[in-house]
């Protein structure tokens, strides 16, 4: 049987969000001083055009996350668990950001080591994807197997249709959620038209990762790394805006006789990322750090999981101050024009 489609008219959107927010927090994209950010819905209209400056990843892997608290008493340490995870709806994330979640799942949820905090957030969050009917200047999702109308990682997909949004569930819990909202239905042909528009969308940047990945194995000592990394500033922009980066560092935040153990984002581009207790740093220069990032995305991950660790969201193309971005590097390495 065909999954039911619903229609959210522009005027209806606030009401829908309020409905959603009644039982769970709603995370959506807001405009803050002209910057598009994922934030908790508090009644202000979201801003759903374009994409978030920072990827939706931060809802599942927050910048700082408490692991547990502790209390020092003479002769003992008392631990206190981190708070429970709130049920949430992620409303208006783009297919690329949600596709990224599936790439992260493989690392954080598969195999013997389980990231329980991430798992809890994934489980507690219903993802309502917003398909793209227009592309950003840096978009190259198609080149890494993501479609502007892709449903990977989503529970519901929203197709823009004029001022309205057409909602189609892609998972059972998505369907359940939509039902609960009591929305008017949408005509099948309208849905098809909206969906096609997105399916057909042309994205400006195209690369081929296949050949690159194939060859990278032998290119560890390629002078390219040293030359290209010369203009890397060593900041963490690329890793922090990226939907598929997931590195973190664990710290104890101490306040006298109490404190908390937290994990915070960390970036492989930082010089101290790998510095060890003794002061030894296996990746002492920008070259190694720069190379590591791209080898991880284009060689190690693919070798393990069969696809590059990139969803072509294009953020690094827009934001890297040195013009050192994923698409560019792929092309430099022979993946496309």
């Amino acid at each position: 049987m065909a999954t039911p489609a619903y229609k959210i008219d522009a005027g209806r959107l606030p009401a829908v969000l309020d409905d959603l927010a009644r039982h769970r927090q709603v995370i959506t994209r807001m405009d803050r001083d002209g910057v598009n950010v994922f934030a908790r819905y508090t009644g202000d209209m979201p801003s759903l055009r374009g994409n978030g400056a920072v990827s939706a990843r931060e809802h599942f892997l927050p910048r700082m996350e408490k692991i547990h608290g502790y209390q020092l008493a003479p002769g003992e340490v008392r631990l206190s668990p981190a708070g429970p995870v709130e049920p949430a709806v992620l409303f208006g994330a783009r297919p690329c950001d949600l596709a990224a979640l599936e790439l992260l799942d493989r690392v954080l949820l598969e195999g013997e080591f389980l990231d329980t905090a991430y798992q809890a957030r994934r489980a507690a969050t219903v993802n309502m994807a917003l398909a793209c009917d227009s592309a950003g200047p840096g978009c190259f999702c198609r080149s890494v197997g993501v479609s502007p109308a892709g449903t990977a990682g989503s529970d519901v997909i929203l197709y823009p249709s004029g001022q309205a949004l057409l909602a189609v569930a892609t998972t059972a819990r998505g369907a359940e959620l939509l039902e609960s909202l009591g929305l008017p239905g949408a005509a099948k042909d309208e849905v098809d038209r909206a969906q096609d528009a997105c399916e057909q969308l042309v994205v400006p940047v195209a690369v081929e990762t296949g050949p690159v990945t194939a060859r990278l194995g032998q290119r560890l000592d390629d002078p390219y790394w040293a030359e290209a990394s010369r203009r890397c500033l060593g900041c963490g922009i690329c890793t922090y805006i990226c939907p598929t980066c997931y590195c973190f560092a664990v710290h104890d935040i101490n306040r006298g006789s109490q404190g908390a153990r937290v994990r915070c984002w960390d970036s492989c581009m930082f010089k101290d990322f790998l510095t060890m207790a003794g002061g030894h740093n296996p990746r002492p220069t920008r070259k190694e750090r720069f190379r590591q990032r791209f080898l991880h995305k284009l060689q190690y991950y693919p070798e393990q999981y069969g696809s590059p660790l990139c969803v072509g969201c294009g953020r690094c193309l827009d934001k890297c101050p040195a013009g050192l971005d994923m698409a560019g590097v792929i092309m430099d390495l022979g993946g496309g024009q």
């Binding site: 020092l72 008493a73 003479p74 306040r255 006298g256 006789s257 002492p284 220069t285």
Partner: protein, 658 residues
């Protein structure tokens, strides 16, 4: 593992009455790494200290907190206690729960709550305390005195007498300085040269004093105990050891000029000794004036020198010497009162300065002690003294009082009345400042002898016939006054040497807006400078009369002597230190150091196979006084202050807040 012992003092009831010490003890016991807490009635008492020693031993304490009075009171006491328990004294921290708590608050609950915070702070800080050790610098027991005036002579003699070597550098051909130019000295009126000359001779003959006249300091490097000093010894053109000082040479020398020593009132030759009692009493050749040096001909002096002591070919020599301490005693200059055009100095020969009058009165002066009008040689009948010419005049001169003028003017008046029967003298003054032993009486005596003191400033002095009309105001009468005078004597201000600032820079000491060298502390360290090992004596530090100058000379010598009393200088270990791995070598710390303790050095470090050599800051622990200004100038925190480290202060803040 940190093992902190906390000792809470009751200070009798001083603390216990307001702070609930037992409760505090209970609280302290719960603080991180606190393994032992004890209360004493009087922790500073011998039994109290004994308790600390015992606890350190029994409970293997490696950090100690004493919550008692102000550290300014007993920190040293308890540091000694730790030391005697063979624990590094700098592993102590005090919580000031008396002066800062029990004595200033009444509410027991509030005071106790605050005391908790104070103890928390102390415990947090002491965790991060490191054992510190006093560094020591060897002292080179040899002093340099710059300036051969009475201040320098006095300092040199006092240092030399206590058995230390001294080099006394004077840029003129003779020592003696200003005092040598004076006739008599107030308030006792004893003859200046009679009391100065013997000292000059002593200085010259002292086995521990090397007298380097006609010499100047050019460069000073190093630091306390080890200054490297470059001194230029100008060519005198005379072989001092051969010269007998017979005087034949200057008798015969054809080149004449105004004698600086007599301020141009008398004459000297190109080869000359500045004055008869000069020390050393050997002539020098003024090469700018000497005909031989100008034309290559003459050599008369050489011809008449039976000792063959004239050596035209002599050259300047620059010697480098090491000294442990330096005394600056470079004296003062007279204010250039040309700016007071209305007083007609330069226009009218009979308008002179106090120093001129000294030379006129002096028996050894150009007029053999007879006071005459420079214009016509007549004995003056009416003499007007103008006080504060330059002094206390922000508009045209300097803001300060020159301190000596009031008294030397009184002296001049007295002496004129003694020398010239029936002379009438007028003194225009703003205030008469006679603060000194016997000064007020001296001033009174001048008045008794007939000096008429007029309270007010002089507006102008101008010639009428062969008289000088002095127009002024008597502010007490509120009327304009005019005096027809034969001689007008200006009490010009004492100012810093025109080149004092460049010497200050050479020495690395500071100077005030008037160019006088600044002492380390106006009250408590009057003869020290902020540069350890450099001391001040006499008018180079500010206007002074002779008694004060001599006193300061002796004081500076005392400071040098107690510096020389030690073989090594022990420096407090709470000084700045550089983490070279972090230092970028930007040296923004350097200008903030008042002691010139920061310098740069080159280090080389391995980085990814490459050897990087780079500059980093380095601190001279001997010079650093531990103010910490540099630590804030350092963005990285590579510059840190032992005993008050960034880590410690941050921890204190964290701990002291609720």
């Amino acid at each position: 593992m940190k093992r902190v012992g906390v000792f809470l003092c009751w200070c009798g009831s001083n603390i216990a009455a307001t702070v609930d010490v037992p409760a505090l003890a209970e609280y302290a016991a719960k603080l991180p790494n606190v393994v032992y807490v004890e209360q004493n009635k009087y922790t500073c008492s011998e039994p109290g200290q004994e308790q600390i020693r015992k606890a350190i031993a029994e409970h293997r304490l490696n950090r100690v907190v004493v919550a008692a009075c102000s550290p300014r009171m007993h920190e040293t006491t308890f540091r000694r206690t730790l030391a005697s328990a063979s624990l590094n004294p700098y592993l102590l921290e005090m919580a000031n729960v008396r002066e800062h708590c029990s004595w200033v608050h009444q509410d027991r609950a509030e005071a106790t709550a605050k005391a908790r915070a104070l103890v928390r702070r102390a415990v947090a800080k002491v965790q991060l305390a490191r054992p510190l050790f006093q560094s020591s610098i060897p002292v080179n027991r040899r002093a340099l005195v710059i300036g051969g005036g009475i201040a320098g002579i006095q300092a040199a003699l006092d240092i030399a007498d206590s058995g230390h070597k001294v080099v006394l550098v004077e840029r003129e051909p003779t020592i003696g300085g200003r005092m040598a130019q004076l006739d008599k000295t107030f308030p006792t009126l004893d003859c200046s040269s009679c009391i100065l000359t013997p000292k000059m001779v002593d200085a010259a003959q002292h086995e521990n004093i090397q007298l380097w006249t006609y010499s100047e300091v050019e460069e000073v490097g190093g630091y306390v105990g080890n200054f490297q000093v470059k001194i230029r010894r100008r060519a005198t053109s005379i072989n001092a050891s051969a010269c007998t000082g017979c005087g034949a040479c200057w008798e015969k020398c054809p080149a004449k000029t105004g004698n600086e020593f007599d301020l141009g009132l008398g004459q000297r030759k190109a080869i000359y000794v500045p004055f008869p009692q000069a020390v050393p009493n050997k002539p020098v050749i003024d090469r700018d004036l000497c005909i031989y040096f100008k034309t290559g001909r003459c050599r008369i002096c050489q011809r008449f020198c039976t000792a063959g002591a004239v050596e035209f070919e002599q050259q300047d020599v620059v010697v480098e010497e090491t000294f442990g301490a330096i005394v600056a005693a470079t004296g003062f200059e007279q204010f250039d009162h040309a700016v007071y055009g209305e007083y007609g100095y330069g226009k009218h020969p009979d308008v002179i300065t106090g120093l001129h009058l000294e030379r006129l009165i002096s028996a050894s002066g150009p007029s053999d002690g007879k006071v005459k009008r420079p214009s016509n040689g007549a004995v003056p009948e009416t003499v007007v003294f103008v006080q504060c010419v330059g002094s206390r005049d922000e508009a045209k001169g300097v803001s300060y009082c020159s301190r000596a003028c009031c008294m030397y003017t009184a002296k001049h008046a007295i002496m004129l009345h003694e020398k010239i029967p029936g002379v009438s003298t007028f003194v225009f003054y703003i205030d008469v400042r006679a603060a000194g032993k016997g000064y007020e009486e001296f001033y009174a005596r001048a008045q008794e002898l007939g000096a008429q003191y007029v309270r007010g400033r002089v507006a102008r002095v101008y010639q009428r016939g062969d008289k000088l009309v002095v127009m002024g105001e008597d502010t007490l009468l509120g009327a304009k006054v005019q005096v027809e005078a034969d001689l007008v004597v200006l009490a010009t201000a004492m100012t810093a040497r025109h080149d004092a600032q460049s010497l200050a820079r050479t020495l690395g000491i500071s100077y005030d807006q008037n160019g006088f060298f600044t002492e380390a502390h106006p009250k408590l360290r009057p003869v020290e400078t902020n540069t350890a090992g450099i001391f001040l004596a006499g008018a180079c530090q500010g206007p002074k009369d002779i008694p004060d100058t001599v006193a300061q000379g002796t004081a500076a010598a005392a400071k040098v002597n107690n510096l020389f009393a030690k073989e090594n200088l022990l420096a407090e270990p709470t000084v700045a230190t550089v983490n070279e791995a972090w230092c970028s070598g930007c040296l923004w710390c350097k200008p903030t150091c008042p002691y010139r303790a920061i310098d740069s050095k080159t280090i080389s470090q391995r980085q990814v196979g490459k050897i990087l050599t780079r500059q980093v800051a380095t601190v001279n622990a001997g010079l650093c006084q531990g103010c910490g200004a540099c630590t804030v100038a350092c963005r990285t925190g590579a510059m840190n202050l032992l005993g008050f480290s960034n880590e410690q202060i941050l921890a204190e803040v964290d701990a002291i807040c609720p």
